[in-house]
Subunit: 457 residues, 2 copies
């Protein structure tokens, strides 16, 4: 990773010393994606300068891979001719991605720079929601006719191939209806005059334009496809989504899930590039919400104030009871959330999950009883207390019951969320912790006030 | 998703009614990966029966995709001839994967069934750690010589292609040293007698056999490669890792990170297939460890017992102070952990991160002060208390300080972990929560005993 930093510093030094010939040599020898990364963080002037030294193909590839801030700087600095050259090389789905992140006046310039056909493709794709199959697909695929021969197919691939995102899977259509796929692998093996019809793979998995991009990525992962075809409501082929987009979706969705599980409003922007104010906006509403929800726990403790006063040692186990409950609940909820999001667990598995969690929580809780008892009695020194044994027992049983209840809630809430079409990921740590805290405290005080002699009397 | 369940039930019904001809038709028409999923959970006898109805290619593909339990059942049920047929069709990296999960006697049978060449390839791959590039690569790539013509290259691809994992990227080697790559796309565009040397792409990113599989997957994602070459210490090409393996690694690693962040020992086994005992083993050690660590918080509360007795209302805000601190700390730690694991954040960014978190936590904490004050005074009714204003102020300032400290700890710990080569993901929720709990309580009681008149006196 540090190679990129060295590369970045080399670029800065060469610009500083105006050694542009060496800079050009350095840049054109490098991988376009590394170039994009190394140019990040240059000043607008230096960025423009370095970018103009790139080869045409390399420039277009690097442009796609840059952060949106750099892309915007470049577009603003481009002459119309330069912009046209870059836009011409862009794949349509990348163009749509970039447009989605730019201010309106920049978007207008991009669209003006595209040729008529590209412009109409871009406009078509912009109609789909950004997180649907339609929003991430590209219409740049190779389509073949079932009556073509292998030789004709190769001819077409050679002709249209350079503009297509992938040529290795070709789509066989009749009147734009998807009939099947043919791989270049099978074309290479077949004899030249074989009809496409005879080597077609017609058992094709496709997705709909309206399918969620996460589902699309999951299908690509599951079937190991290079690309998956996207069809419209009339089963006509309108585009493909390729594996590289699927990898990015899977990685981004995991990040998003993790953010939601931690009570952060999801955002795709890299941390170091987000402004302090933006990070604050992602975090503070949740902190406030959860703090206000904690009114419940305050009330419970307030209600048992008399019991606490009479047996003040009880207060020192509040954090332990709460944290153990929270941890146990989160273990269950996060497992179920991730399972749901990978499709390993489905809503109709609810009974099996509950039954499994009941058993797991029972033996987890049971295992904690002796540990808790010993810890409270000896580590925390309650053996010195007259009611020590009873208090230790109350704490231990509280832990047992809390673990059982916490795991059940942790397992059930994400499923309930999914059933009512909420995102299960929001049913993770913070919400579970807040609920389990309240329950744990209730159990604790009810047991304490009934069994500890000083309080029961 | 529910299509698979319907499919599974159809299979069961057809077996029950002994309608094997229809079953065979149903199975051979289906996608092998769907078949694998639908056969999950059949009895050993039914599984064997259904599997024997599959086409040869389909059988091999379905076999690879099955859960390890089903694979083991099948291998135990196979005749030697059947096992040989399946093993022959396996890709070497899949064979190695399966071998890694089987008991020794099954492994011995698999290895015996492989032909000599495959056996030696398997044995070679088994020498690499399972989570290294060597452990997930396949030696089944197409290699070309730089002096070949395009026509000769196609001839070779046609001949060896069927046994290779991908043919679309071919590797140009001289004395097994990787000289560059050639894509089938560029071969198709070039004229027949062009020399490979002239269309070679020699600016190739490769990985080492010892590189971590997560790094390999990240390189494939970053560069959008179909496959990445793996070289040994002498820069000789020994295998490739393909994009489909990268997708799985990225998805599994995200799951693993999430598990560690929630204090669960990572495991790749799907939840519904893990035994209760196994899940217990993943979870209970952490619950015990964290519970024992909570001795610290108990001690702190114990130490301030006198203050608590004198002002019992303080106890009702313990959960709020602890939870807010935990939430704030986790927001920071999880952001940094994910950034590190995606490579967006590096260890040398530590100062920038700390400076950013200081500002974010300052304004988050500041925003919480009025909310806390109003909540405590009016929601929790402290306006009725003589010291109500002071207590509310103490709680608010505690929240402010706790948020600042929690975010700093949350941001720093993962970086420290990474620096000392620990996994940053273990520095998430539970550990942070435990540490922050202790600090929050200290701040709370120190402020309270100094500023609340009833205690300060």
């Amino acid at each position: 990773m540090d190679e990129i930093i060295v590369f970045h510093e080399q670029i800065e030094a060469l610009i500083e010393e105006k050694r542009f010939k060496e800079l050009k040599e350095l840049l054109v020898r490098a991988n376009a994606i590394d170039v994009a990364e190394a140019l990040n963080g240059l000043s607008e002037k230096d960025l423009m300068l370095a970018f103009r030294l790139l080869d045409k193909d390399q420039a277009a590839e690097a442009f796609v891979e840059m952060e949106h801030d750099e892309q915007e700087m470049l577009i603003r600095g481009f002459t119309d001719k330069e912009l046209r050259a870059v836009v011409e090389e862009l794949e349509v789905d990348d163009a749509v991605d970039i447009i989605g992140e730019m201010p309106a006046n920049v978007v207008a310039r991009i669209i003006r720079s595209a040729d008529r056909q590209t412009r109409s493709l871009i406009n078509e794709l912009l109609l789909y929601p950004a997180d649907s199959a339609g929003g991430i697909m590209t219409p740049e695929y190779v389509s073949l006719n079932p009556d073509m021969t292998v030789d004709q197919a190769f001819e077409k691939i050679r002709k249209v191939g350079p503009d297509k995102e992938t040529i290795y899977t070709c789509y066989v259509t009749e009147n734009r209806r998807l009939e099947g796929v043919v791989s270049v692998r099978s074309l290479l093996i077949a004899s030249k005059d074989t009809k496409i019809r005879d080597i077609i793979e017609d058992n094709v998995i496709s997705v709909k334009t309206t399918d969620d991009k996460e589902f699309v990525a999951e299908q690509i992962r599951k079937y190991g496809y290079l690309a998956i075809p996207v069809v419209d409501a009339e089963e006509k082929l309108v585009g493909i989504v390729t594996f590289d987009d699927a990898i990015n979706v899977i990685s981004e969705e995991a990040t998003e899930d993790i953010q939601k599980m931690t009570a952060i409003t999801p955002d795709e922007h890299p941390y170091l590039r987000s402004s302090v104010f933006k990070i604050w906006k992602q975090r503070v509403p949740w902190l406030i919400l959860l703090m206000v929800l904690s009114t419940v726990t305050s009330r419970i403790i307030g209600f048992y104030e008399a019991a606490l006063s009479a047996c003040i040692v009880l207060s020192s186990f509040i954090p332990m009871v709460m944290d153990t409950g929270g941890n146990a609940g989160n273990q269950a909820s996060v497992t179920i959330i991730r399972g749901l999001s990978l499709g390993e667990i489905k809503v109709h598995d609810a009974f099996r999950i509950v039954w499994k969690e009941m058993r797991v929580s029972f033996i987890c809780g049971l295992s904690l009883i002796p540990v808790t008892f010993i810890k409270v009695m000896f580590f925390d020194g309650l053996y010195k207390d007259a009611d020590g044994i009873i208090i230790s027992a109350v704490v231990s049983v509280t832990i047992f019951l809390t673990v059982c209840i916490a795991k059940l809630i942790g397992a059930l809430l994400p499923i309930v969320a999914k059933t009512i079409k909420l995102d299960p990921a929001v049913m993770a740590s913070p919400i579970i912790t807040t609920m389990v805290d309240a329950i744990a405290l209730m159990v604790y005080f009810v047991l304490a006030s009934n069994f500890i002699p000083a309080l029961a009397g």
